[in-house]
Amino acid sequence: MLAKRIIPCLDVKDGQTVKGTNFVNLRQAGDPVELGRAYSEQGADELVFLDITASHEGRKTFTSMVERVALELSIPFTVGGGINELADVDRMLSAGADKVSINSAALRRPGLIDEISSHYGSQVCVVAIDARREEDGKWQCYVNGGRISIGKTLFDWAHEAQERGAGEILFTSMNHDGVKTGFANEALRQLAERLTIPVIASGGAGRMEHFRDAFRLGQADAALAASVFHFGEISIPELKRYLRQENINVRI
């Protein structure tokens, strides 16, 4: 049976991971490759590396980091941040990334999704959507790290992205992100019902039950989290044993 995926997300700035971690046995605590390897050994199913660098120099550092990840890790990984055109995608895939995640650039120029999927196949194109549930109950999409609303709703945009050739939707609920009270299960369930491509749940993980609920209630195909893994609040082996006890199929 196809397993539900657990995906740690690493923010990278100037070639170093940003958030502190509780991993003790790393030679270089801030090295994304070392951290990635540690997660891989613990049973992470995929990894996401997000480049949060703004400078050109930082971008180059990120590319060489991607090359090192590809050399050393034997699980799939996605890279995101700063991907605005086909040339950026090409650079990341040539460096060895399996998939790229695009966010604001796709909302500003949706044709980028068509370009990526027709050049490299849908499987490399992850469309990340940051959305917030407004007071009127509608989920609105935001760009630039959640600062600007773009006047598209989550469900319309996710569907459009799918029709244009996205291979997966990575949905982050801005209402739930960082609050650690669980994922946006109702919105996830609606996405799962409306889409025929996999949905990755993001934002809100605090306890192991939250992952169970994202898979069971939210019908997500994968769940992504950062700080609960980085700070050791949840260990991946423990989480997977728990999910299996709860009859959710995971790779152990």
């Binding site: 049976m1 196809l2 994968a222």
Partner: protein, 196 residues
Amino acid sequence: MEVAVVDYGAGNIYSVIHALERLGIRPTLTNEAELIRRADKVVFPGQGEARQAMEYLRQTGLDQVIRNLRQPILGICIGQQLMCRHSAEGDVDCLGIFDVPVLRFQPQRHEDKVPHMGWNSLEDVASPLFDGVDDGAYVYFIHSYYVPLCPWTLATTRYIEPFSAALHRDNFYATQFHPEKSGCVGERILKNFLSL
């Protein structure tokens, strides 16, 4: 050991090269018939589209080279599909090493998403390619077309219906999944292939 990785313009071949390098091999990426014929082992990787890939193989004569190899060869993902008789992807005749057609997944329920993407488990695994790999081991798949069960099925995976996760006939081996992306299980399978 000389390992040739067949270069036929398919997508991401770096991961399979890196995976071999992690096992201490320096593979040669090549489309030259002589280098492929001379290698001890041949890896036929891939991502891409069946019709384009077959056109390239025919134009370069690599189709005949691959059919006539005597040393162990491992087709991966679309590599496996190209080793079959015919692919529904682009309705194209393939190499015919395995006399079985390649079909597209037909979703039966809303939850049946195509492509089949992620970690799925192997059943009824048979050695030697799967020495040390147990039934139930997880490997990484990403594909929309599949090879049905057939006399050459070497491992089975269930998605929508049971299909061939791996094939074997004589010196020809193939996996639908990506051993180079399948963690330690995949590493073990590549090691087994290299020790054939």
